[in-house]
């Protein structure tokens, strides 16, 4: 008998012992004292799950399982363990992935995000939960009916978009988890608006400073190189840097009427007549008196502009100088 076979036989024997223990407990304890039965069963039940997992790995079932899902999502963190993970956490992660893939698919189809994606697209991006593994929190997800373009040439437009979006989602996650190749993202996705959606989608999945989640690991058949792709708090910093690159900083002057001053936050708006966009201004303490005096008057403001490349209707200006226009 090979070493593997004897290990397997030992594990199966151990598993049988534990099943027999459960049988005894169910027969002798459960009818008389259900709460004691529940407590006494905890040990064998956990151990059975552990042994099953070891057996699955030994016989190769674990790697077959791996291929059942497009993507596996393993969530690790303080207090996150099998049978005691808050359902709200699982629900929010499932939603983050679904919405991320959906927004990428929508950008691919329409070039922009809408407030309400079509029902077709929503259904195509509604990933199915194919497995929830015990022992650690690991969710197996796949697109509805596991559709992949090369396997099903007759996919609808929405299904194709969802499939492509999942591919891109995982590509960007994989890039974010690597600590090299800064240029890859801007070369692969040249359109800033799309890059922003992709980065935002992965950022939502990545653990933040105050999250109880320490890491999210992606693997599975659709993950580049099958994974693992490990997203940590460090990954979030990388994503933030990439998002910062999407914001242009320039020096500019605007003329318009000063409105909606907030002296506590030290902000005001500049509207027309020369500016089409609304200019949201923040100003230093030293300009407070002048800003107050200038309310509802035509002014010229100069400062540093941060323009979000995706939003063309709003400009953020850090005011350095403010002058009330004559006349």
């Amino acid at each position: 008998m090979s070493q593997d076979n004897s290990d397997l036989q030992q594990m199966v024997e151990q598993l049988t012992r534990l099943y027999e223990v459960l049988l005894v407990l169910g027969r002798d304890i459960a009818p008389k004292n259900p709460s004691l039965y529940a407590v006494m069963a905890e040990g064998p039940v956990d151990q059975i799950e552990d042994l099953r997992r070891q057996i699955d790995e030994t016989v190769g079932l674990a790697s077959l399982q791996e291929l059942r899902a497009d993507v596996w999502l393993a969530i690790e963190g303080d207090g996150i363990e099998a049978q005691s993970t808050p359902s709200s956490l699982l629900a929010s992660y499932l939603d983050i992935v679904r919405k991320g893939v959906q927004s990428i698919a929508e950008i691919n189809l329409q070039g922009s995000l809408s407030t309400r994606p079509t029902r077709d697209l929503q259904e195509a991006c509604d990933l199915q939960l194919v497995a929830l593994q015990a022992g650690s929190v690991r969710l197996g997800l796949r697109l509805p009916d596991g559709f992949e373009e090369r396997e099903h040439p007759d996919l609808t437009e929405s299904q194709r978009a969802a499939s492509g979006a999942l591919e891109e989602y995982l590509e960007v996650a994989s890039w974010a988890a690597r600590a090299d190749d800064e240029q890859w993202l801007s070369e692969r996705f040249t359109e800033p608006a799309k890059r922003k959606v992709l980065l935002g989608a992965i950022k939502s999945l990545t653990p933040g400073k105050r999250s109880c989640v320490n890491s999210v690991t992606l693997s599975g058949r659709r993950v580049p190189g099958l994974g693992p792709v490990i997203l940590t708090r460090g990954t979030k910093r990388r994503l933030d840097r990439a998002l910062d690159l999407l914001v242009e900083t320039t020096h500019a002057t605007y003329k318009g009427v000063l409105r909606e001053i907030d002296l506590d936050r030290r902000t005001f708006l500049i509207r027309g007549p020369e500016t089409k966009a609304v200019v949201r201004c923040s100003f230093p303490q030293t300009l407070s008196d002048r800003a107050k005096e200038a309310l509802d008057r035509l002014v010229v403001v100069t400062g540093t502009v941060r323009r979000d490349k995706r939003r063309r209707d709003t400009v953020d200006l850090e005011v350095q100088d403010l002058a009330i226009a004559q006349g």
Binding site: E13, L36, M40, D46
Partner: protein, 128 residues
């Protein structure tokens, strides 16, 4: 417990054994208080020769009379629930009745040496 301290709770490469022993003493005190626990069987790398043991596994032997209780009081529950004990002490445990069939099976289970079928190891019993 003094014998256990002498044999297994000495400072080796680190104070890991000392810390595990302190936790064990704390658990034993709580178990003693319940009057429901008759004995403990200690397993895990703590009762091996390993310099840096990872864990303590316990078989907690309870009085058969516990079966007659209508419900478990919180202080009994906190000593017998695997999840509570894992959270508080980081021990893994099995709960069995004194002299029962499940005790025999659990002892057989824990006596096995992983990856060495046919080899049996000894377990340490502490009567309370």
């Amino acid at each position: 417990m003094g014998e256990i301290k002498e044999r297994f709770a000495r400072f080796r490469n680190s104070d890991r054994r000392v810390r595990l022993y302190r936790q064990l003493v704390e658990y034993v005190a709580k178990a003693w208080d319940t009057s429901a626990v008759k004995a403990l069987i200690i397993d895990g790398s703590f009762v091996t020769n390993k310099a840096e043991p990872g864990d303590i596994d316990l078989i907690v032997i309870v009085s058969a009379a516990l079966l007659e209780e209508q419900s478990l009081s919180p202080h009994v529950y906190n000593v017998l629930s695997k999840r509570q004990v894992k959270k508080k002490f980081d021990f893994d445990l099995f709960v069995v009745r004194d002299g029962s069939e499940e005790l025999q099976k659990d002892v057989e289970f824990f006596s096995q040496v992983r990856g060495k079928p046919g080899v049996r190891k000894g377990l340490l019993r502490v009567d309370l």
